[in-house]
């Protein structure tokens, strides 16, 4: 069986390599993409949209419909993770530690409630307390990572980056909080409701801008028609439309990354994990 698999992999790999021989060379000026498509973008993007970063302009404006469904796909990934993994049953075993004495209590009945003050501490079975160095370093780093994520989203028009990357960086800063402290710290601050609302809001902002352009009399996602809403300098409306779209993508991606992480790492229970 292993041998057959090896043969099939070699065969398909060889066919793929054979197929790539027909592709134009890297940076070939005579390839179809360079002769018909790229010139138009390079010559007209700055005049039409006033966005210096051509990649963002193509992604968020010329191919905005495509990017909208990419965001929808990311949203669906989060939704699928939630529907497959979320487990609302109460947890079977719970562990508590009496802080002054260090005695551990093991509750097998999920209905049992502890008349707890501050002297009892809920414990994760698999989780090992993090080192103080890790906690301190992460506590200092997380705000900077988040500011950088916002910068990446806001500067998507001018420099590499954009909503997707910024959202992923913001989401990973929240995941870093869960890793360096524990999952409860994250779930307490960033609740499930908040994340779900944000994930849906991001997609809604994107679609809303498109529908807004339609209501103003243009095509779907044609930001140019939103210009009357802008008090001054209507030439920048396409750049601002792209910024709005990027913010929507960033919000959706940030929320979805955290939803996927929390659901995977806690088996959908949202109580304890890595």
């Amino acid at each position: 069986m292993k041998f057959i698999g090896f043969v099939i992999v070699c065969l398909t790999g060889g066919l793929l390599l054979y197929g790539t021989m027909d592709l134009p060379d890297w940076g070939d000026p005579n390839s179809p993409a360079s002769t018909h498509l790229s010139d138009y973008y390079i010559e007209n993007i700055v005049a039409e949209t006033r966005v210096p970063n051509l990649v963002t302009a193509v992604l968020a404006d010329y191919r905005g419909y495509d990017t909208m469904f990419e965001t929808a796909v990311v949203f669906c990934a989060g939704l699928a993770c939630f529907l497959l993994l979320r487990d609302f049953r109460p947890k079977q075993d719970r562990y508590f530690r009496h802080v002054p004495t260090g005695v551990m209590l093991h509750f097998k009945n999920p209905e049992t409630r502890l008349a707890a003050g501050h002297e009892f501490e809920h414990m994760d079975k698999e989780w090992v307390p993090s080192d103080m160095i890790i906690k301190t370093v992460c506590r200092i780093l997380i705000p900077f990572i988040q500011i950088y994520a916002l910068y990446v989203v806001a500067h998507g028009d001018f420099s590499p980056g954009g909503g997707f990357q910024g959202g992923v960086i913001f989401g990973s800063s929240l995941i870093l909080m869960a890793i360096s402290y524990n999952l409860k710290t994250l779930v307490k601050r960033v609740t499930e409701k908040f994340l779900s609302i944000f994930a849906a809001t991001g997609v809604l902002i994107y679609v809303g801008l498109g529908v807004g352009a339609m209501l103003m009399g243009g095509h779907f996602l044609d930001y140019g028609t939103l210009a009357p809403l802008l008090p001054s300098d209507p030439g920048h409306i396409r750049a601002l439309g792209m910024l709005g779209v990027e913010i929507g993508v960033g919000i959706a991606v940030m929320a979805v990354m955290v939803i996927i992480y929390v659901n995977i790492v806690s088996k959908g229970r949202h109580d304890e994990g890595l």
Partner: protein
């Protein structure tokens, strides 16, 4: 274009890819995938596709590694085959 850097990075990419499917320890595989993504990010950057390199670095080398580690944490660390 810097051909030697390109070739060195491509060699490492192939090494990482082969190592990732042969190593028995799935946590090691997750880290090897992370290294693979990072090397691909270098390749994109060398080719001038900075946006793609940025995405590869944040998604491929960053978040997807965390997801792999989380999945290994909740399943098993050893492969059967």
């Amino acid at each position: 274009m810097l051909w030697p850097i390109d070739l060195i990075v491509l060699t490492f990419v192939i090494f990482c890819a082969i190592a990732a499917i042969t190593v028995k320890d799935l946590l090691g595989t997750a880290i090897l995938f992370s290294a693979y993504s990072f090397l691909m990010c270098l390749l994109w950057a060398v080719m001038g596709a900075v946006d793609v390199a940025f995405t590869e670095a944040s998604v491929g080398a960053g978040v997807s590694t965390v997801f792999f580690v989380a999945a290994v944490f909740r399943t098993s660390r050893r492969t059967k085959d």
